[in-house]
């Protein structure tokens, strides 16, 4: 311990604090997989026994599958569209001299602070006024709306992170704006694009309020789960589903972090 730098020397109270912090974050979440294997429809201690019944039930639960597929479809489209808008907006904001740039960016970021319930009601009024029937499309629309600010924030950071002379070099080497975008800008922004896709997908995937207002006959997974909670015997099935989603989320987050780190390693070489 002697040859540890002053700034790195161990600190016991801080270690303890870190443990408490992690417990606070993760213990509630860990109850989900724990009780999903409990052989009882009631979520209480003590455990009755180990079972995989709930997972087996989940595999046969057709409405759940439908809701899951709906959610994946809505989230995929919302993530793609929001990220596309995010790319164009971030490119414009970071590369061109636009008059009134700050108010424009502010306006795009505003949905971040508008409560979802207000946006939901507003959109509901709008689409019903326009005579558009409620469906997965209207949910997708709402999710695109709330995802764009997140996509933009992610992508602006990425676009600002790399040297503008890269794009100038591409132009210098014979590429017009179109080719420059496809051969330099997009590949270099790729980690940001992927991060934005994952982020927007996650936002859409667990979004409830907007989906609740804008859903037609087909529901997304959060709405399905909400309706299931009214029937106590369905609860363990929801826990099993939750455990599965949790596992997938962890994998996705680790993947995103790995990408982000690779992105940083890549951009640090951009400077000399």
């Amino acid at each position: 311990m002697k040859n540890v730098a002053y700034i790195n020397r161990p600190n016991r109270p801080l270690h303890l604090y870190a443990l408490v912090y992690l417990a606070f974050l993760y213990v509630p979440v860990l109850f989900l997989p724990l009780f999903s294997f409990n052989d009882s429809i009631y979520v209480t201690f003590p455990f009755k026994g180990f079972t995989t019944t709930w997972y087996e039930q989940m595999l046969d639960n057709k409405p759940m599958h439908a809701a899951l597929m709906n959610s994946i479809r809505v989230a995929s489209v919302a993530a793609l569209v929001a990220t596309m808008f995010g790319i164009f907006a971030a490119k414009a904001v970071t590369r061109y001299r636009i008059r009134g740039k700050k108010p424009v960016v502010g306006a795009i970021m505003l949905p971040l602070v508008i409560p979802g319930i207000i946006l939901g009601v507003a959109l509901l009024i709008l689409v019903s006024r326009l005579g558009i029937p409620l469906s997965l499309y209207t949910i997708t629309l709402g999710h695109i709306l709330i995802s764009i600010p997140f996509s933009m924030a992610t992508l602006i950071a990425r676009f600002e992170g790399f040297d503008k002379s890269m794009e100038e070099a591409a132009a210098d080497l014979g590429d017009n704006a179109w080719w420059t975008f496809w051969r330099v800008t997009l590949p270099m922004a790729f980690p940001g694009v992927l991060a934005s896709l994952l982020l927007c997908f996650t936002i859409s995937f667990d979004e409830f309020i907007m989906a609740f207002f804008l859903a037609g006959t087909e529901s997304t997974l959060p709405i399905f789960i909400y309706t299931q909670l009214r029937f106590p015997q369905k609860l363990p099935g929801v826990l099993a589903l939750g455990a599965c989603i949790l596992a997938v989320s962890f994998v996705v987050v680790f993947f995103a972090q790995w990408l982000r780190r690779r992105g940083i390693a890549g951009s640090s070489n951009v400077g000399v």
Binding site: S165, A171, D172, R183, G266, S267
Partner: protein
């Protein structure tokens, strides 16, 4: 080697950034095959001028002609120029080979021809075997070579270089200077080179334009800029110089007599345009044009007595700072270390004589 053919003509070129005038009505003519340097401190407008040549900045006024074709409105990808960027701008998502091949897209070459051209370019910059390296596996010097190869593979008529050696350490920089010069001479491409390093500009260039505050102070060969600077600013920027206030006594035929603060009454080659006797003027003299001796030198009236205040050892030579009467700044006198046995014997605080020849004195406008 280079004819006076006005290959690149820059006419009354200006660039304003809002209220800041970066380039101010600049006129330059660059010949084909010339190694032309833009030299100046940071913020003098040299990089902006280069970027206008490359098409990255639009001029506020004026015009650039390359082979008599006006360049305004011509985007970078259609110009006969290529640029080596200051930070090299190596694409981090591509390896060396693909970086270098980047500019060949429009030529629609087949794979074999592309490989041949890339191989040639790698050989040109002595990077054979580095084709599959990632950009983050390269040293500063190697990155610089990749940037050079990437620009040259397009066979540009004009190569623009924005302080390409600035990030390299001194030894590597001197090596690259020689290589760059050899490359330019063998390819016969016109180089426009931006630098703040006066030594580099003098070493490399056929001609140098010294810039300050968006204007060109002097445009001439390195020798002329060093030997006959036209203003105090240029003389100060290039190398070391002693400046002494003086007053014109008599303007004769070829020679001017002056009264100086530090050197007494001296003679110097006439400054053209100088007509007024009694005018205030600045006398400039290089440290290496001054001689140091213990005794009053015989056979010359050009000598003044002083006291050594300070010495600076510079390896190949030694600078003595000699205080003389009537002038508050000590004179810098350079002595080659070949005469080491002689120069070491000059102790601080010892009285010495400083002498010079008439033709080593440069007259400059005082304004």
């Amino acid at each position: 080697m280079s004819k006076d053919d006005g290959y690149i003509k820059i006419e009354r070129l200006s660039k304003h950034f809002d209220s800041v005038v970066a380039v101010d009505q600049v006129d330059i003519t660059i010949n084909s095959g010339e190694f032309f340097s833009l030299l100046g401190a940071s913020g003098c407008g040299k990089t902006t001028l280069l970027r206008m040549l490359g098409g990255f900045e639009m001029p506020t006024a004026g015009e650039i002609y390359i082979e008599n074709v006006p360049m305004s409105g011509v985007p970078p990808h259609r110009r006969p120029t290529n640029m080596v960027f200051q930070n090299y701008a190596i694409f981090p998502h591509l390896n060396v080979r693909r970086n270098i091949a980047y500019g060949l897209r429009a030529e629609r070459l087949n794979a074999a021809e592309t490989a041949r051209r890339v191989g040639e370019a790698l050989e040109l910059v002595k990077l054979q075997g580095f084709g599959e390296r990632r950009s983050d596996e390269l040293s500063g010097g190697q990155r610089q070579r990749v940037a050079l190869a990437r620009a040259l593979i397009r066979r540009p008529k004009v190569l623009l270089l924005d302080e390409p050696l600035g990030a390299l350490d001194k030894k590597l920089r001197e090596e690259m200077q020689l290589e760059l010069r050899a490359l330019q001479q063998s390819l016969g491409i016109t180089f426009v080179f931006v630098t703040h390093d006066q030594e580099e500009a003098l070493t490399l260039s056929d001609r140098v334009a010294v810039m300050s505050q968006g204007r060109i102070l002097q445009m001439a060969t390195p020798e002329e800029i060093y030997q006959r600077p036209v203003s105090v600013e240029v003389a100060d920027f290039i190398g070391q110089m002693n400046f002494i206030d003086a007053r014109v006594i008599d303007i004769g035929n070829g020679n001017t007599v002056l009264d100086t603060a530090a050197l007494g009454r001296i003679r110097a080659p006439t400054l053209s345009g100088l007509t007024q006797e009694g005018a205030k003027i600045v006398v400039a003299i290089r440290p290496e044009k001054l001689r140091l001796s213990k005794e009053r030198p015989l056979g010359t009236g050009n000598a003044v007595q002083g006291v050594i205040k300070n010495t600076a050892y510079l390896g190949d030579r030694r600078h003595f700072y000699v205080a003389v009467q009537g002038w508050d700044k000590p004179l810098a006198v350079a002595a080659q270390e070949v005469q080491e046995s002689g120069s070491r014997s000059f102790e601080p605080e010892s009285p010495v004589w400083v002498s010079w020849t008439d033709d080593s004195v440069i007259l400059l406008d005082a304004s």
